[in-house]
């Protein structure tokens, strides 16, 4: 009995030690990011933990020149817009893939998935030329549209699994009770797929938020996103690591806040549709 307890204790201690070590390993880059955001350029290369902290980097990035804040707002518009458009198109599409049988269904589903296959840099030249011709270059809608290559496949494929999980009888029962099709959809189906909807929307938002190649090459004169704007702090004279750290910390905020808010849906949402009974 005693021996068993000792074994349990040892197991717990070693498990916690491993978790602690891993946490330090995982969190250290973030801690380092915060530390250097308080360092001046002159102290950047010759100090580690002991230095004179300064708020200059925050002042420069957030208040001197409105560029970064504007880029932040731009990012919210294009990433949020991209996810909304994906939801608008992707939820009905996922439902159709799950429920209906039509010719070339799997081919079409695979085509949507294949949007994710091609490296962005390979498709950018034709996209650039088309965007220039039809006036979408350097516009909010242009970016929202091209972000569908990132967000739409993810949303459709995750939600398709969810719709397939829900038995058709549930819908039929609601129909029998007199619900029109749109009420069935809103009142029965959407609540059932909510965890998946939330989790895949968040992931789609994060991928769109972090996108670099598309906003770098398809905009820049009027619209700039944070991923591109953050590079401003790499000057040809020097790399302003402190300012970059501030930019990165600010850019990560919405993702962290959103992830915390919907944490409970996140793990469940992504694992639920994966295993079929």
């Amino acid at each position: 009995m005693m021996k068993n307890r000792l074994m349990d204790l040892l197991k717990n201690v070693s498990a916690y030690t491993v978790i602690c070590l891993y946490s330090i390993f995982a969190i250290f880059p973030l801690i380092w990011l915060v530390i250097i955001s308080f360092k001046s350029d002159t102290q950047m290369y010759n100090t580690t933990f002991i230095f004179t902290p300064t708020l200059d980097n925050y002042k420069i990035v957030l208040f001197e020149g409105a560029d970064y804040i504007q880029a932040f707002i731009n990012n919210i518009i294009v990433s949020g817009g991209a996810v909304l458009l994906s939801l608008l198109v992707g939820v009905p599409a996922a439902y159709a893939f799950a429920r209906y049988n039509f010719a070339k269904k799997e081919d079409l589903a695979f085509t949507i998935l294949s949007f994710k296959f091609a490296p962005e840099i390979l498709v950018i030249l034709p996209l650039f030329m088309i965007y220039q011709k039809i006036g979408l270059y350097d516009t909010y809608f242009g970016l929202i549209w091209v972000y569908q290559l990132i967000t739409l496949p993810l949303l459709i494929w995750v939600l398709r699994g969810y719709f397939e999980e829900i038995s058709v009888e549930v819908e039929q029962a609601a129909n029998l009770d007199g619900y029109p099709w749109y009420s069935v959809f809103w009142k029965i189906l959407v609540p059932l797929i909510k965890p998946g909807l939330v989790a895949s929307s968040l992931l789609a938002f994060i991928f769109a938020w972090n996108s670099f190649t598309f906003p770098l090459l398809l905009s820049g004169f009027q619209i700039e996103t944070v991923t591109v704007a953050a590079l401003r702090y790499i000057g040809s004279d020097t790399v302003h690591y402190g300012q970059m750290a501030v930019a990165a910390a600010v850019a990560a905020l919405p993702e962290v806040v959103l992830a915390l808010i919907i944490q409970k849906h996140l793990v469940r949402g992504l694992s639920f549709g994966a295993v079929k009974g």
Binding site: T42, Y45, N46, L125, L217, L231, G235
Partner: protein
């Protein structure tokens, strides 16, 4: 069945209709390709001759660009030309630019470029020949003196498009905003404390490196030079010294470019360079780019920097780095017995998109920001350095600014006459120089038995890369 067939026909007709309308909308009718420049070529020059136009400019993130951006409102006020711009760091700048030029949409109208990039862009027809504007009295402000540019600097942007032909002749593809020659910068405080003489020859430089090993404790080292596996490692200190040893990269034999990197001079120079890296280089030299080399020098980790003039200069203003104010410059060290100084040139310049639809407005912008008045302001108040114009460098205001940097003016004066592009123009420049840097890394890593063996192998690789180039 019949219904589905008629739907198919309807959809097909609709698609054809939409496509043809789209093509009509996209194609440019003949005559509309005329540049505004041609239309605006009227009698006499006037700064407001393209008033009402809007131009787009692509900048690389650099103090030269930041200075121009500050002055854009004044430019707009004087010319009536609106300017939209994008500012992209160098790491991604040329990818973005190449795609934009490749589309031939005319967007951007102007772009920052280096001379080496012109060897790709000009043969592809991306850049406009600027002589057409310079030779037209109606297009040039009477006070704009093109002969005021240092010959070696503006000559670096002239090329006749023939691979293997040296720069300096042919059309002018860009105008210089600033330039970099390569010199030796050193930390005066360290040299004074250790009572060391500043090296003037490569042998002295190697000897000083021996003395400066860990001069300030662990982590400090004698000489910061670039070492990353890309073209940036070859073009500053290395190519400067390479040319000072009398070595060349290519010669033309039977209409082909033939690499000369295994010539006796090239091997002797590379042996010296490898010794310098082994004795004096940073412990992680092979990852060093412009940034690490400059930052280590400014932070006092390296006692010397053999790199572009302005790399150390940007570390010297008060507050810019730990060693600000202690940094000083001399001309590049030469091999024993040599007196003539060569230095390899890098020039940030501005070129015009051949497909631009606003060429007059673009030319006015180019002229405005390469004028002597603007370039003087950019040095005295715009945080720029190394003006490409003689009159600007020699002006008292600029001399006063530069005089606060010990030895800078002397190093500039000694180096500028021999500063030009030491490479042979050819379209595979970036590939050959990247291979060159890779070989240098391999030699330092001991992957070859001798420098000669490494350079022999490099010659073969370079010859294969340029095999398709027809030289005259």
């Amino acid at each position: 069945m019949k219904k589905s067939k008629s739907i198919k026909i309807f959809v097909s007709v609709l698609v054809i209709l939409v496509l043809s309308m789209n093509m009509m909308a996209c194609s440019t009718p003949a005559g509309e390709t005329d540049t505004e420049g041609d239309a605006a070529a009227v009698e006499g020059f006037s700064w407001d001759m393209a008033s009402g136009s809007t131009i787009k400019v692509m900048f690389n993130q650099h103090p030269y660009a930041e200075a121009i951006i500050k002055k854009i409102p004044e430019f707009t006020e004087e010319t009536g030309i609106e300017v939209e711009y994008s500012l992209t760091p160098e790491e991604n700048y040329f990818d973005k630019l190449t795609i934009a030029l490749n589309s031939r949409s005319g967007d951007p109208d102007l772009f920052m470029t280096g001379a080496y990039q012109i060897w790709e862009y000009a043969p592809a027809g991306y850049t406009a020949d600027l002589d057409q504007f310079l030779n037209d009295p109606n297009m040039v402000d009477p006070s704009y003196d093109v002969d005021d540019f240092y010959e070696g600097i503006i000559g670096g942007l002239r090329w006749d498009l023939k691979a293997g032909h040296k720069i300096g002749t042919g059309p002018l593809w860009a105008l210089p905003l600033g330039f970099e020659s390569n010199v030796l910068a050193y930390n005066k405080r360290v040299f004074d404390e250790m009572d060391l003489e500043v090296p003037t020859t490569m042998q002295e430089l190697l000897a000083v490196c021996e003395e400066l090993k860990e001069f300030g404790g662990p982590g400090t080292y004698p000489l910061a030079i670039r070492g990353a596996r890309n073209w940036g490692t070859i073009h500053p200190g290395y190519m400067t010294t390479y040319s000072n040893y009398g070595a060349v990269d290519f010669t033309i034999e039977d209409g082909k470019l033939i690499s000369q990197v295994n010539s006796p001079e090239a091997v002797e120079m590379t042996e010296m360079w490898v010794d310098l890296i082994e004795v004096g280089g940073a412990p992680s030299w092979s990852s060093y780019t412009w940034y690490q080399a400059g930052a280590d020098f400014g932070a006092g980790k390296a006692a010397m920097l053999f790199d572009a003039t302005c790399n150390g200069y940007f570390q010297n203003p008060e507050g810019a780095s730990e060693e600000a104010g202690n940094l000083a410059w001399v001309a590049p060290p030469l091999p024993e017995g040599k007196t003539e100084i060569n230095s390899n040139l890098w020039t940030w310049s501005m070129a015009m998109n051949e497909a631009s639809k606003n060429k007059t407005a673009a030319w006015l912008f180019l002229q405005y920001f390469t004028s002597a008045d603007y370039q003087k302001w950019s040095i005295t108040e715009g945080n720029c350095v190394d003006p490409p114009r003689k009159s600007v460098f020699e002006s008292q205001e600029v001399q006063d600014v530069l005089a606060t940097n010990t030895g800078y003016i002397e190093a500039f004066n000694a180096t500028v006459p021999g500063t030009t592009i030491q490479f042979t123009p050819q379209p595979h420049f970036f590939q050959t120089t990247t291979e060159w840097a890779a070989t240098l890394q391999d030699i330092v890593a001991g992957n070859y038995d001798s420098v000669q063996e490494g350079m022999d192998q490099l010659k073969k690789t370079m010859d294969e890369i340029v095999a398709d180039v027809e030289a005259e």
